[in-house]
Structures are given as structure tokens and as C-alpha cells.
């Protein structure tokens, strides 16, 4: 029943996540030690793999792009008091939307115009897929946590059906579309840096990373500087102040979910238009779920989301290297390690709040 122990902002935003991370690292070290690996070596391999080369950095940032988008999606909904667990499904549908819009526009143009068309298609599909659970909560009282989970399954089924029966590549047994036109493909980072006269290795990193950073800035302005965001946060406080203030709360819930879904769509833009250049089945690979941890660790602030997305990006890339170099360490162990990070950061991070507050109080008396 006691109120959350107050901490200075710097301790809350920086020290607590770092402590949680350290806990995760310790647990991971024990785990690696237990299977007979040297944790220090493993860490070195991961760091080298994630940050030690241009290629590693490219991959890290490519993963981070996905996490920024899905993390922002979760964070934005969270400010409205909505727990959107459906970024995965929203991104899945957004991929379909991007492809449908691009394929529909290809007969008319093959040029760069396809890029905004594809992005708009993705955002519309992602937004609608999220707005439906929002609508169900606002007018029917069904909780978005439940409905967005169900919509993830629905999206998986619908996308398989569409990929197999409607927009699949003709004459192929693979549940995937044909390639999108060259004009619809986002510029790779290699090409962009090349245009500026820099040489860089070939990685999946592409223009979507820039879009992700822009999206983070836009979300910051929206939530913390705009009237819309003020209303959104007022709803998120959960009391009746929003109604008292004359805000149409039902409409705002639908809008908040729609925006959240549109952000999740960014991940589909990265994968479909930036990397794979087609829609492949299950291209979302769980990035939508990691977005929940990213938002949690980033304290639902866009800057925090970027930082924790970079961390998870490095973890993914470093983990891949590790699995590659050490046969004893499998892909599953990497999943376990990221699970540890999510657990420590998401569930355990309040563990240190009280002792930390007491420590700080003792240090600066009066």
C-alpha cells in the first residue's frame, strides 16, 4: 500500500536500467559458466560481433530499426493506458498492406513514388488492425490485452491465407509474394553512404533506420508537446479527469491504438521494403514482442526506446555471432539470454528501487 518510493530522475532513468542489466549479465554469466563456456570470452565475442566491425554495426542497427518501431508502438499506447501486445500482428498485416498497395500501383508507376505508397499502405493496414481492438475496448469493453493477443493469431492465419491463395508468387509453393519493383525498395545504407562518398559493407541496414529515428522524434513531439498527446496522457492516468476535461475518451482510445499500429507498421516497412523486398511468411520473427521489453526498459520515452532498441539490436547481432562461433551455444541459448534481459529489465527492475532510495537518502542527509 505504500506509494512508489521516489528516486531522483537520473537514478530512475539511468541507474535502475543499468542495475537491471547488470543483474541480467550476471545471470547470463552463471548460465554460460554452467554449460562450460567462459563468460568473459562469450561477452567478448558478442561485443566484437555486434560492434567490432562495420558489418556488425550494420546488422545491429538493422535489428534496432525493428525494435525502435515496435518499441515506439508499445510506448505510445502505454501513455494512453493501453497495453498493446499486438505489434506483431499489426506489423504482419502492415507487410501485406505495403505489398498490396505497391502491387496495385506498379502498373501506374515504377518510380520512387512507390515508396511513399508502400509506407502509406503499411501504416493504414497496421493502424486498422490495431484500431479494431481499440474500438472493441472503447465501445464494447473488451480488454485490448486480450484482443490484441487474439489479433496476433488472426493476423498470422489471415496472412498465410493471403500469401498462399491470393497474393502468393505464381507457380511457387513458398507462402511468399513476388519481389516488389525496384522503385519500391528502400535505399540501402551502403548505397546512401556510397552516394556521400563513403565505403561501407553490405548489410540489411537501410533507409528505414532514418525513418525510425524520425518516428521517434515525431512520437516525442506528439506525446510530450502536443495537445493531442496531453489528452492521451490524461486518459492514461486512468481516472475520470479526461472525461471531466471534455475529452471524447472513446475516440481517443481508438486513435491511440491506430497510431500505435501505424508505428508497428514501420517494422514491416523495414523488413518488406528495405530487406526482403517481398512479403515472406512470419517475417515479423517476434520483433513485435521484443518491442514490449524495449518500451518497458526505455521507460516509454522515445529516447529510452532508441537506447534500449540499440541494446537489443546488439544482443541479437552479438548473439548470432556467438552461436556461430561456439557450437556449444545454440540459437536457443541466445533466446534464453534475451529472455533473461527482458525478465530482469521488465519484471525485476523495481527490485532495486527501495534499497537504492535508502542508499541515496543516507548519502545526502538534510
Amino acid at each position: 500500500m505504500s506509494a512508489p518510493v521516489p528516486l531522483p530522475a537520473w537514478a530512475d532513468r539511468l541507474l535502475m536500467p543499468l542495475l537491471a542489466l547488470a543483474t541480467a549479465a550476471l545471470a547470463a554469466a552463471l548460465l554460460l559458466f554452467g554449460i562450460g563456456e567462459n563468460p568473459a570470452d562469450a561477452l567478448a565475442i558478442m561485443l566484437r560481433g555486434a560492434l567490432g566491425s562495420g558489418e556488425g554495426i550494420g546488422f545491429t542497427l538493422y535489428y534496432a530499426t525493428n525494435f525502435i518501431f515496435t518499441g515506439l508502438a508499445v510506448a505510445l499506447a502505454y501513455h494512453a493506458g493501453l497495453f498493446n501486445i499486438g505489434a506483431e500482428g499489426q506489423a504482419t498485416m502492415a507487410g501485406i498492406g505495403a505489398a498490396l498497395f505497391i502491387f496495385a500501383a506498379e502498373p501506374i508507376t515504377q518510380g520512387f513514388l512507390l515508396i511513399p505508397i508502400g509506407i502509406v499502405g503499411a501504416m493504414i493496414f497496421g493502424a486498422v488492425w490495431a484500431a479494431i481492438p481499440g474500438w472493441l475496448q472503447a465501445w464494447r469493453g473488451s480488454h485490448v490485452v486480450i484482443t490484441t493477443i487474439m489479433f496476433n493469431f488472426l493476423a498470422a492465419i489471415v496472412s498465410v491465407y493471403l500469401l498462399v491463395n491470393v497474393i502468393g508468387k505464381e507457380g511457387s509453393m513458398q507462402p511468399e509474394t513476388r519481389l516488389i519493383a525496384d522503385g519500391a525498395q528502400l535505399w540501402t545504407m551502403q548505397a546512401m553512404l556510397g552516394a556521400l562518398g563513403f565505403k561501407s559493407p553490405s548489410t540489411p541496414l537501410n533507409f528505414a533506420f532514418v525513418l525510425a529515428l524520425l518516428a521517434a522524434f515525431a512520437v516525442w513531439v506528439l506525446i510530450f508537446r502536443s495537445k493531442f498527446g496531453f489528452h492521451l496522457r490524461l486518459i492514461g492516468t486512468g481516472n475520470d479527469a479526461a472525461r471531466y476535461a471534455g475529452i471524447n475518451t472513446q475516440r481517443m482510445i481508438v486513435l491511440a491504438m491506430a497510431l500505435s499500429g501505424a508505428l508497428a507498421a514501420g517494422m514491416a516497412v523495414n523488413e518488406v521494403m528495405g530487406v526482403q523486398h517481398r512479403v515472406v511468411i512470419e517475417f515479423t520473427s517476434g520483433y513485435g514482442f521484443v518491442g514490449i521489453a524495449v518500451a518497458l526498459m526505455g521507460r516509454n520515452h522515445p529516447v529510452g526506446v532508441i537506447l534500449s532498441a540499440l541494446l537489443f539490436g546488439a544482443l541479437y547481432q552479438g548473439g548470432t555471432e556467438l552461436a556461430f562461433e561456439r557450437p556449444a551455444i545454440t540459437r536457443d541459448l541466445i533466446v534464453t539470454l534475451s529472455g533473461l534481459v527482458i525478465f530482469c529489465v521488465g519484471a525485476l527492475d523495481q527490485l532495486y528501487r527501495k534499497p537504492l532510495a535508502q542508499l541515496l537518502a543516507r548519502r545526502e542527509p538534510g
Binding site: 502536443s226 472525461r243 471524447n248
Partner: protein, 507 residues
């Protein structure tokens, strides 16, 4: 500073606050408070809003840690770092906002945290035995299987008190217990407190009602701006002296001038019926009207439909039948946004639920329901400047717009809401319990503001359970009883006794 110790001088005081000091950032909430509470006393603690009363009690109860100073219990220094330490030291607290789990039964609430093992049956049996004993010792019966949310506020408070008693607390702290009680419930509470005292319990009572202090306390301590400015035996003091000690000057209550209201009503309500949250009919066939430049007071014992009436008028609760008109437009189904556009503003009874967002800064709270002239982007600097001016003008302390609204003391929150709504230049102001939990200086201030508005031709509908407030401010008075209008009186033609009879449904 005068500190009276135990008259006999034999046993140590139940509690000594030994130079307790506490700051919240720039706010010095407790300044080296030194205070002894004698065993078996009812010790009142008074002071302006923000004087530091709740903070001192929160330190005693382990919610906050003092920056320096000690707490001695029965002469022993005791380290209280959490509410469970406090309970173990025999301290019980009745919070102003009850800490009860509303959907659970009385017995479940009382057992919470003291279940006594894995199986609940044993703990429940022990609890029922204890409740029996308490019911025998004091006049304190309660139905253990009643659901808390179904109980009236007075009984909920009893559950809160029982929570301490079943854990054998000898020292009871009550933070503004009568603010939410009807006069009858308050009398019953005081009878109980006297009983508890007779059995040797020590009681600390925080209140803004000096009349209560004079009625029940043995001693009273006055806090001013975080410091204890004196402790007096009740026989050596009086209401006026206490008020002056609290505020440092005399308080003058404003007088209502005889302005004549227009004849055309601004607000007309006809045959209004409204249901409460549980579906029962709370407002039955109420008709009324308010004219510009007039204050219509709605008196009544809390829970007789005033809350629902106010919420219906403010667009927060749908009426089941009847009509509400503002001038010539029908506003029976208007939303709060529609009402704002017409110049109808609302200062709600429940500021915590409706009027404020605790986690937000004060300047953001100044925008709640008041951001129509903002563009898509909020003009932060302007708003912050306006907020600072508003805090000055309405005496909201500390006047820092960056502070969280939840960090303001109760009375200062009330002044903030009042200021925000008045600054919206209302034509009709709906006001619920404007001075609940507010100190006398602030009451005078709020009354003056409401009377100023009246003089400017604003129509005001005032709901209050405080009869002196109703009598002092209203041009006309309606008394609500069981959802109906039990009677109407003009100012000057009635008094507390007359209204009291109407409220009780006798006249």
C-alpha cells in the same frame, strides 16, 4: 515553544517527536519539530494547508523517512522504516483516503496481511473472536461479511479503525476523520474516541475544525510552515487563539452583500431523475433554477443525491428523465465539452478523481479542461507563466508550476482547481464541497472568491454539507433529503436548526 510532558511525570510520553526534520526538494515540510504526546491523551494537531501535519504522521507511520531527528516510543528510540514496523510498534493509522479493498468483505480487509498461516479458517476464527471482544469493550459492532463498497462512509471508516484495533494498536492516528462524515457519524466517532481514551489508548487527531478540537482534545499542537509553534492544554486556549496561532493573523470571514439577482433564470432544471452507480434512483424529481448573480445552496447530509445531481448537471452522468436548460438551450444530454463552450464550469466534490491528474505537473493540471485556446502544440512557456500567476493569485503554495499536483497538500490542490475554473470566466459555476479539507484562512479566501463571482453576475450552484458555509454564502437554499427537495428557504429566513430538521426529514 512549550512542551508539556506527562502531568504525573512518572511514565515517559507515548511518543516524542524529537526534532524531526524533513524536506521535499525546496519545500521544508517539517522544521525540527519537537513534540511530546502523553499516554492516554487525545492530542489534536492543527495547522494551515501544507503546514506539514500529514508529513509528520507519514514519518511516524513509516511512509517517509525523516531527514534528521528521532522518534521515541515510550521513551525508547524506535526505527520505523515501513508501515509494518509502525504496526509492530503499536501504531495504527486511519488515513483520510481509506486504504481498503472495496470489493472485499470487512473480514477479508481486516485479515489482509495477518491471515495467520496458509489456511484462512484459523485466522478468520481468531479475527471473529477479536471482533467480538472489541464489540463488547466498545460500541463497535460491524457485519464481518458485508462488502466494503456497500457500506456508508462512516462504517468504512470504522473498518479502517478496526484494522488498527485488531492489531492491538495503542496509538491511533486519525487524519481529518470528520471531513467525510455526517454530523451524526462524527458524534458517534467522537463517542468512540472517548471510549478508546478511557481504556488507555493514545490518540492523535488531525483536523481543520477547531470546534472539534475544543470539544474532544486534551491538548493541541499548532504547526505553522513546518514548525511547531506551540502546544497548549485545551483549557488554556480557544478557537480564535488557535486560528491566530495557525495563521499568524486574524481571519475575517467575508460577508455576503445584498445584490439583487436578475429575474431571468440562467439554469433551469425540471423534474430531473438520476440514477447512482449501483442503479438506484439517487435524484428524484428535482426542479430548481439559478439566476445570474445568485448563489443557490444545496444543503443535505452527504449521500442524499447531491453528488449525482451535480454530476448530472456537469455532463458526467446521464439523467434518466427530466430536463436541464441553460438560458434557452437544452443541455440535458450535453457533454462536458459542450458545457465548457457555453461557459459552464464545474469544481467537483472529488478533485482527486475528476479535477486533477496527480502524476502531472501543476502547469499541466492548469490545462485540464482548459486548453481550448491551445493550438496543436502546447505553448509551454506561456502556460507555465500563466500557471505561476494563477498560483500567486489563488495562494497555492508552494507556488512552483513544475511541482507534481500530487505533491501539493489537499487544501492547496483545492485552491488550484478553484483558480483554474474561475479563470475560465464561467457564466454558471457548479461547485461541490469547495472547502472540504481546507484550513480556515483558505476557507475565507475561497468564500471571498465565490462572492466576487456572484457580484460579477455569475450564477453559482453550491453543494455543501457544511451548514455554516451554506448559510453564509447562499441567497436561496434547497435542502435535499433522500433524493428529493425537502424544502426551500431564503437567506435570512432560516438557521442551522431549521435546516437540520429539513435534512433529517422531520420538518
Amino acid at each position: 515553544m512549550r512542551v508539556h510532558s506527562d502531568p504525573g511525570g512518572t511514565s515517559p510520553p507515548a511518543i516524542v517527536f524529537d526534532h524531526i526534520d524533513k524536506r521535499f526538494g525546496a519545500v521544508h515540510a517539517n522544521r525540527s519539530i519537537h513534540l511530546a504526546i502523553a499516554r492516554g491523551d487525545i492530542h489534536a494537531l492543527v495547522g494551515e494547508n501544507g503546514a506539514g501535519k500529514s508529513t509528520l504522521m507519514s514519518i511516524l507511520f513509516g511512509f517517509y523517512q525523516a531527514d534528521s531527528g528521532r522518534i521515541l516510543i515510550d521513551g525508547q528510540e524506535s526505527k520505523i522504516t515501513s508501515p509494518s514496523d509502525a504496526i509492530a510498534s503499536g501504531i495504527g493509522m486511519v488515513h483520510q483516503h481509506f486504504m481498503l479493498v472495496e470489493p472485499m468483505s470487512v473480514a477479508d480487509n481486516l485479515m489482509l496481511g495477518h491471515e495467520g498461516g496458509f489456511a484462512l479458517a484459523g485466522g478468520r476464527k481468531a479475527l471473529l473472536a477479536k471482533l467480538d471482544a472489541l464489540a463488547r469493550d466498545y460500541d463497535l459492532t460491524i457485519e464481518p461479511d458485508a462488502i466494503v463498497s456497500d457500506l456508508p462512509v462512516g462504517l468504512q471508516q470504522r473498518v479502517e479503525l478496526l484494522k488498527s484495533l485488531v492489531r492491538d494498536a495503542d496509538i491511533l492516528v486519525l487524519d481529518e476523520p470528520t471531513a467525510v462524515l455526517t454530523p451524526g457519524e462524527a458524534d458517534r466517532l467522537f463517542a468512540l474516541l472517548r471510549d478508546l481514551k478511557a481504556r488507555g489508548k493514545t490518540i492523535i487527531l488531525i483536523t481543520h475544525k477547531l470546534r472539534e478540537v475544543m470539544e474532544i482534545a486534551d491538548r493541541v499542537s499548532v504547526l505553522r510552515q513546518g514548525a511547531c509553534v506551540g502546544t497548549y492544554p485545551i483549557v488554556d486556549t480557544n478557537e480564535a487563539a488557535l486560528a491566530e496561532a495557525m495563521i499568524g493573523r486574524r481571519v475575517h470571514m467575508p460577508e455576503r452583500a445584498d445584490t439583487l439577482a436578475d429575474d431571468e433564470p440562467l439554469l433551469t432544471v425540471e423534474a430531473l431523475c438520476v440514477r447512482d452507480a449501483r442503479g438506484g434512483m439517487a435524484v428524484k424529481d428535482v426542479s430548481l433554477m439559478v439566476r445570474p448573480g445568485e448563489i443557490l445552496g444545496i444543503a443535505g447530509v452527504a449521500g442524499n443525491g447531491q453528488t449525482e445531481l451535480l454530476e448530472a448537471l456537469a455532463g458526467l452522468r446521464a439523467a434518466t428523465s427530466g430536463s436541464i436548460r441553460f438560458k434557452n438551450s437544452d443541455i440535458s444530454h450535453a457533454t462536458p465539452a459542450d458545457l465548457h463552450a457555453l461557459g459552464i464550469r464545474h469544481i467537483p466534490e472529488d478533485r482527486l478523481r475528476y479535477a486533477l491528474a496527480y502524476p502531472f505537473a501543476v502547469w499541466e493540471n492548469c490545462l485540464i479542461g482548459a486548453d481550448d485556446e491551445q493550438g496543436s502544440l502546447i505553448a509551454r512557456q506561456t502556460v507555465m507563466g500563466d500557471a505561476a500567476r494563477l498560483m500567486q493569485a489563488y495562494d497555492v503554495r508552494p507556488a512552483d508550476p513544475l511541482l507534481r499536483a500530487g505533491a501539493l497538500s489537499g487544501g492547496n490542490q483545492q485552491k488550484l482547481v478553484l483558480g483554474r475554473e474561475i479563470e475560465q470566466r464561467p457564466r454558471l459555476l457548479l461547485v461541490g464541497q469547495p472547502t472540504r479539507g481546507v484550513d480556515i484562512g483558505a476557507i475565507a479566501f475561497i468564500h471571498r472568491r465565490l462572492l466576487d463571482l456572484r457580484a460579477q453576475g455569475v450564477a453559482i450552484l453550491l453543494v455543501s454539507v457544511e451548514l455554516d458555509e451554506i448559510l453564509r454564502l447562499s441567497d436561496r437554499i434547497l435542502v435535499m433529503q433522500e433524493g428529493r427537495i425537502a424544502g426551500e428557504r431564503r437567506a435570512g429566513e432560516t438557521d442551522e436548526r431549521d435546516l437540520g430538521l429539513l435534512m433529517a426529514g422531520i420538518a
